[in-house]
């Protein structure tokens, strides 16, 4: 057998030739170069500032059935706390429940009637804490905090005539209800959300090369020479992938039921509406990228450039409410953020159309804006 012979007759000039050629080509491909520079900056900012694994400022709704000096002290302690942000003080139970289900509040803190009277009698009244455990990370972080808040709120009050209450265990009881995911199984949170992540990745990526591929292969010239309208190209090119997306959704639903035993508690119609608009939003986002990218390589990089903040700022990896407000503002503009809320509300929190409208609306708006941008960007000529 003959072994291949390696030549060690290396030339610095040949290496230099290739090195210089690579440098020139890198400089010519501006968008790629820009992404290479921007990517580390974006990652640093996102991971460094936006991501907070110690969730604070989670929205809470307080249901006050009693208004007295002790309960007021507790409320003001809650308000002052950085662990929770009291977004509303509700007097009726239905309203508080609605806020928890729609995700406007992550916690519901309920103080029962006759709390102070029973406290003084030593009957250990209950403070009810209902946490939205569809996001177990966000929930468990603040659960411990509530106990400390209660302790520090009541300590100055258990003084003088009420001094006898300053004992351990405390004269009240905090009862914790983990709603929507009582066992706190993180798969219940992650698996439905993964549907959104999978759709974002595949739908954006696949349509991001829709026009780029035509331009790169030279078939765009032929296409533009025909009387085809930009809208016709858009609809024709994206519709096939709606079916691909639907198939992916079916697969994720099947697997999450069979393997992870995730309950599907809400309205299927609401879910179908949410997932359809979400698929459309991603297809339009990808299509918009394909009107900008010059090569398929650029399209892939831009897809990743969109994908990264989607993962980090949507509430998929880290509790959305715990992010700084600028990061939340970016998150609100991402389709995945709204879809995650919809899918968690519907799958885990038995939500119907009424509950998801707050996210279905923005999602639809984002989709329409993407369509408008994509059509504006589409050039009918080769200019």
């Amino acid at each position: 057998m003959k072994l291949p012979r390696f030549s060690f007759d290396l030339s610095l000039s040949r290496i230099g030739a290739i090195f210089l050629k690579e440098l020139v080509q890198m400089r010519r491909d501006r968008p790629t170069f820009a992404i290479m520079i921007l990517m580390p900056i974006m990652q640093l900012v996102l991971f460094g500032y936006a991501i907070n694994t110690d969730p604070r400022h989670l929205p809470a709704v307080v249901e006050m059935r009693e208004d007295g000096p002790l309960t007021r002290a507790f409320l003001s302690s809650l308000t002052a706390s950085t662990f929770v942000d009291v977004v509303a003080v509700a007097t009726n139970e239905a309203e508080a429940e609605r806020m928890l289900r729609s995700g406007e509040a992550s916690f519901l803190i309920s103080i029962p009637e006759g709390f102070e009277r029973r406290l003084v009698r030593g009957e250990r009244p209950q403070i009810l804490l209902a946490a939205d455990a569809s996001d177990p990370v966000a929930a468990s972080g603040a659960l411990g905090a509530i106990e400390r808040i209660a302790q520090s709120a009541f300590a100055p009050e258990f003084d003088g005539a009420l001094g006898f209450l300053a004992r351990a265990p405390p004269p009240y009881e905090i009862v914790v209800h983990r709603r929507y995911n009582p066992a706190g199984i993180s798969a219940f949170n992650i698996v439905p959300a993964l549907m959104g992540v999978v759709l974002t990745m595949t739908m954006v990526m696949i349509t991001s090369i829709a026009l780029t591929r035509e331009a790169e292969r030279g078939t765009m010239e032929n296409l533009l020479a025909t009387p085809v309208r930009p809208v016709e190209v858009l609809i024709g090119k994206t519709t096939p992938y709606i079916f691909v997306g639907a198939t992916q959704v079916a697969i994720v639903l099947l697997v999450s039921t069979l393997l992870f035993h995730i309950p599907f508690t809400g309205s299927f119609a609401a879910f179908a509406a949410g997932v359809t608009v979400f698929i459309l939003a991603n297809l339009m986002l990808g299509y918009l990228i394909s009107t900008v990218a010059k090569t398929q390589m650029q399209a892939m990089q831009m897809t990743f450039f969109v994908f990264l903040p989607s993962i980090l700022l949507s509430g998929f990896m880290f509790p959305f409410r715990a992010m700084p407000s600028w990061a939340q503002a970016i998150g609100e503009a991402l389709p995945l953020t709204h879809f995650l809320r919809i899918v968690r509300e519907v799958v885990l929190k038995s939500a119907g159309f009424g509950d998801i409208i707050n996210d279905l609306g923005p999602l639809t708006l984002i989709t329409l804006m993407l369509v408008a941008f994509a059509l504006l960007r589409f050039r009918r000529t080769l200019d």
Binding site: G218, E221, A225, T226, P227, V228, T381
Partner: protein
């Protein structure tokens, strides 16, 4: 008059980043004509064709193509024009038939399957209809491209160097096809580098640096240019060629195998130059000949026609 002009545009101008690629271009093409575009690479032939079919927006200029405004009604024009691009621009991962059906659908044609069948058989592609377009040789790709841009029976054919890289037999078949369409009233605007193709055209526009330098019927071109030629033969020729090229009286020297054709527009100067070379190299035989299309097109393509400006 304007009824008969399929293309009637004036002052078309196109710039790319400050560089004027097509400058004040006028073009009048009567119905049924085969109109040739000649010019060196980068002279603006492709850009002009693209402006005519609405693929590029001219910076200025006006006119009508097939009776529609070239600036405002490009969709109407696109519906009635067949454009064959320089580079193969159909889908290589679709079969021949799928490509034709795709085009037929884009033009909203009725009797789609029938038309596709007709196109396949008239171009001799029927047996290969399930073959992927990407697997075809250059000549077959060109046939397919022509079939695709004829599927909607356009009144105007724009062909951008349609026969580049195609063998002579396939080129001849291609031109037979074009003449066949022309006889049916289809107007053709074709750019080419081949002089045997240029001769097939009814009229010729010669373009260089984005300007039209010559525009005449093919028969009139020799008269218009007024080129004179001498044949120089004998061995060796190498030195004679160098001497002729250096001579001021000769504008173009073209080698044809064992002979040289020396051309210029100034008859007297040319004769003097050739005779002087013969005096230096007595073994050469010289003879005055008629300047044919071949000489004229080499003369045009070598850029000597710049003098016409």
């Amino acid at each position: 008059m304007s009824e008969e002009l399929v293309i009637d545009v004036r002052g078309l101008t196109k710039r790319f980043g400050g560089r004027t690629v097509v400058d004040q271009f006028d073009l009048q093409v009567p119905r049924g004509a085969i109109y040739g575009f000649l010019g060196p690479n980068g002279s603006g032939k492709t850009t002009t064709i693209r402006m005519v079919c609405g693929l590029l927006k001219p910076e200025s200029g006006e006119g009508r193509v097939l009776g529609f405004d070239v600036l405002g009604e490009s969709l109407r024009i696109k519906e009635r024009v067949g454009y064959m691009t320089q580079k193969f621009s159909l889908y290589e991962d679709l079969s021949i038939r799928e490509n034709l059906e795709f085009m037929a659908r884009l033009y909203n044609l009725d009797r789609r399957a029938e038309r596709v069948d007709e196109a396949l058989s008239s171009l001799g592609l029927a047996e290969r209809q399930t073959q992927l377009a990407g697997k075809l040789s250059g000549g077959w790709k060109q046939r397919l491209a022509l079939a695709a841009c004829m599927i909607h029976e356009p009144q105007l054919l724009l062909l951008d160097e349609p026969t580049a890289g195609v063998d002579p037999k396939a080129r001849r078949d291609f031109w037979d096809q074009i003449r066949h369409y022309s006889a049916q009233g289809v107007t053709t605007l074709v750019s080419t580098h081949y002089m045997d193709e240029a001769v097939q055209c009814d009229s010729i526009a010669y373009i260089a640096y984005g300007k039209k330098l010559i525009d005449a019927s093919t028969a009139e071109i020799p008269k218009q240019i007024g080129l004179h030629a001498w044949r120089v033969a004998g061995r060796p020729l190498q030195q004679a060629q160098a001497l002729l090229e250096a001579s001021g009286g000769v504008e173009m020297v073209a080698r044809f195998g064992a002979e040289i054709h020396a051309c210029a527009r100034d008859e007297a100067k040319l004769e003097r130059a050739v005779r002087q070379v013969q005096a230096e190299q007595p073994h050469l035989r010289i003879e005055k000949i008629e300047a044919g299309f071949e000489e004229i097109f080499i003369y045009l393509m070598t850029g000597a026609a710049d003098n016409f400006r």
